[in-house]
Assembly symmetry: C2
Homo-oligomer: 437 residues x 2
């Protein structure tokens, strides 16, 4: 009757050495197209992220961010075009000279002048882009598809002649004509472009639509496929995931997702998704313990708060509150946690100071405080905590005071509690009043 298969995408239902993530019968049958366990990251905090409303990165900050991303293990770091400003050009040069393990890219218009300026900076590759949707052709650059193809091939051949890597991407791919798009990509694939890019520039794409487009493209080109998803409709992580399922090879991210408008696929959100799907690949390749540090660094640089609900690092990501959750989590964390906080150098917190508290959470706290009570006594004490929480918000200190004072009332003589002791002990299952789905 137990689940078979694996929620983490390990093949053939075999888990990576522990039963932690097992038991999901709905894991899709492994698909030869899928790259969920072998994707690469193009980290664009220093390009897309610089287009975030609050971003102003001086050279020193850019270097700090580039080094941190390199240490984290991203495959590529993408920089603002040297054509944007003289300082942007100098910053490109400075970052190329750092000798990072990550390859350095810059992102340019499909224009020979920009390409020439960029190859002089010392980058490893160029990400070339042009708008192909009728919207952008009409309202942005005003060029037709024949002109786009001709220019694309010229620019790509020039970059390849300089020995550099080159990606060619449309902008606003999901509102471009499918036949135009495939024709163009087929043509640039033929001249040896390293990657083609699919970009949801306006954030309109849906997951199954992404899957269909990338899968179709996968049958047309032999080069790698990079994807870029804006988050206007909240689907940027899911769309990246579906792109990988359909055979995309590279995902664009930025730290905390910063970028134009409300940004793109966040590095941390993508890590949350992928570590559940492909734990071995993700944990061996990326230094997940560094994630919080990088997010804090970028948040400070652009003067924002890490969102309360950020995957992994949001302050409540590993906090459990409802009685029924708390009890089960104390028994076995995988009941209500698909992510292990320890993988990110973080810890879980079981909330026991609210009206939704269950007695199992209080029992654990009693043990942590080094006190001793029978189950009936813990239940009586829990009722006191809930009664106070019904009247006003209570803090951990309040709950601890109630526990301690209740404990004292049980003793014939005053008793000095010892220091808190963490416990991993399993607590027997019993019902809690607050269900949660």
């Amino acid at each position: 009757m137990s689940g078979n298969g694996a929620c983490n995408g390990t093949k053939n239902g075999v888990s990576n050495g522990s039963a932690y993530y097992r038991s999901n019968p709905y894991q899709p049958v492994p698909d030869f197209l899928s790259n969920v366990d072998k994707f690469k990251i193009i980290e664009s905090t220093l390009r897309e992220g610089e287009q975030f409303a609050n971003a102003y990165f001086d050279t020193e900050t850019k270097i700090k961010i580039a080094k941190a991303l390199d240490e984290f293990g991203v495959d590529y770091i993408e920089l603002t075009s040297p054509a944007a400003s003289e300082q942007s050009r100098r910053d490109c040069e400075a970052i190329c000279k750092l000798g990072l393990k990550a390859k350095i890219l810059t992102h340019i218009r499909c224009d020979m002048r920009d390409a020439k300026l960029a190859v002089e900076t010392g980058v490893d590759g160029l990400d070339v882009v042009i708008g192909t949707s009728s919207f952008l052709r009409e309202h942005s650059h005003g060029k037709d598809m024949a002109y786009i193809e001709k220019t694309a091939i010229e620019v790509i051949e020039y970059i390849k002649s300089k020995g550099l890597e080159v990606r060619f991407s449309s902008e606003d791919s999901f509102r471009s004509d499918l036949v135009d798009l495939l024709s163009l990509y087929k043509a640039v694939d033929k001249v040896g472009v390293h990657r083609v890019g699919i970009a949801d520039t306006v954030g309109c794409a849906t997951p199954r639509q992404v899957y269909d487009l990338v899968r179709t493209l996968r049958g047309v080109v032999s080069c790698d496929i990079e994807t870029h998803f804006h988050n206007d409709t909240g689907c940027a992580v899911a769309n990246a995931y579906c792109a990988l399922e359909a055979g995309a090879t590279h995902i664009d991210t930025s730290v905390l997702g910063i970028g134009e408008r409300n940004g793109i696929t966040p590095l941390g959100g993508l890590m949350a998704r992928m570590v559940v799907t492909a734990p071995e690949y993700v944990k061996s390749k990326y230094k997940l313990h560094k994630l919080k540090e990088i997010e804090d660094m970028v948040a400070e640089a652009v003067q924002i708060n890490v969102p309360f609900n950020n995957p992994i690092t949001g302050f409540c990501a590993f906090t459990h509150k409802a009685g029924i959750h708390a009890k089960a989590i104390l028994n076995n964390p995988s009941t209500y946690e698909i992510l292990d906080p320890a993988d990110f150098g973080l810890t879980r917190y079981v909330h026991f100071a609210s009206r939704l508290t269950g007695w199992n959470a209080v029992k654990t706290r009693v043990k942590q405080l080094g006190l001793s009570m029978t189950d009936d006594q813990v239940k009586e004490c829990t009722a006191k905590i809930k009664a106070l929480a019904d009247i006003r918000p209570i803090a951990i200190d309040d709950a601890d005071s109630i526990i301690r004072s209740f404990h004292i009332s049980l003793q014939p003589q005053p008793h000095r509690p010892s220091e808190p002791v963490p416990t991993d002990e399993v607590i027997p299952a019993e019902e809690e009043p607050e269900p949660a789905a």
Copy 2:
């Protein structure tokens, strides 16, 4: 060569009176299973949201939130179980007496005692839940599937005998055995349950997995299908969308997504997704202008900040910065905006005070300031703004000062600029240095 079809999901490529959202050839072929243009919302801020780490709602706050949600137009409001605490029970009664248009639900364990307590509060329906995954069966309630089915039928028949609506849901559906799940749902469907629920309690589900499970279930039961998605891996909006595509009828949301850990599908994020897909349905049914007010109210009640990157209401959701974006947006907002800020009572902001500024954005600002310059003069002035922005962060005031002082330098005599005048005038397309995808 232009796109055919519609990104907004309008059938047959016919847009709703404007060309604003048109031109997406990848819109899936309309599917008879899909409910993307006829879904209902079960708003759970006062149940799932109360399980958020920071949530402490007193009766007055609960009533304020319930009234605001009702005014917004949600179909159902779900409340914490009356079995959780005496105050929770009294709050249920108080909200039932408000006479709201929305139906009032409460969320209980699959247990006759809880059901009896709940029907006495005056609610319109009960959402019944029990864990069915091997994880929860083993570590939470310890019951087997035969017991679950027997109890479920008893509880459902009791609730129906009282004339109330009843939903039956598994917890952790995506880690439950498929055959167990379908057998159970088939049995409760047979005794006339109104809805069955699919819950991704741990936030592990992926969009195509959701589509497959809901579509399979759609072929097994004739009742409605409610879905509930946690956001641990950043897919809660996308999963809700795919559930609707597969025939789900009801989506659980909370304001800002607050709930256990980092929460569930946010009401605002779902609105962003659905107004792009089904603008007529969403705009006619929900008072989108009220969204910001409700989010601010809940954020204040639980003492959090609205995330900087929140869909629609994040401070940068409608801010455009890169030169190439700014220029196109000034030509036609649909080039880089799939959401219209006016639908939410908000406005867009084109950033022109940065090193990524393009001259088209500056030209617009010059007009807004009531000044007059030739294009060559605007380009010269733009170079001055970018040069300063290369040295230090500049504010709008700084950019305005540069524009004004440059303008004065052009005049034979000092000139007093008139008040800013907004302009909708179309500016001719020309190239900008910062590409953006």
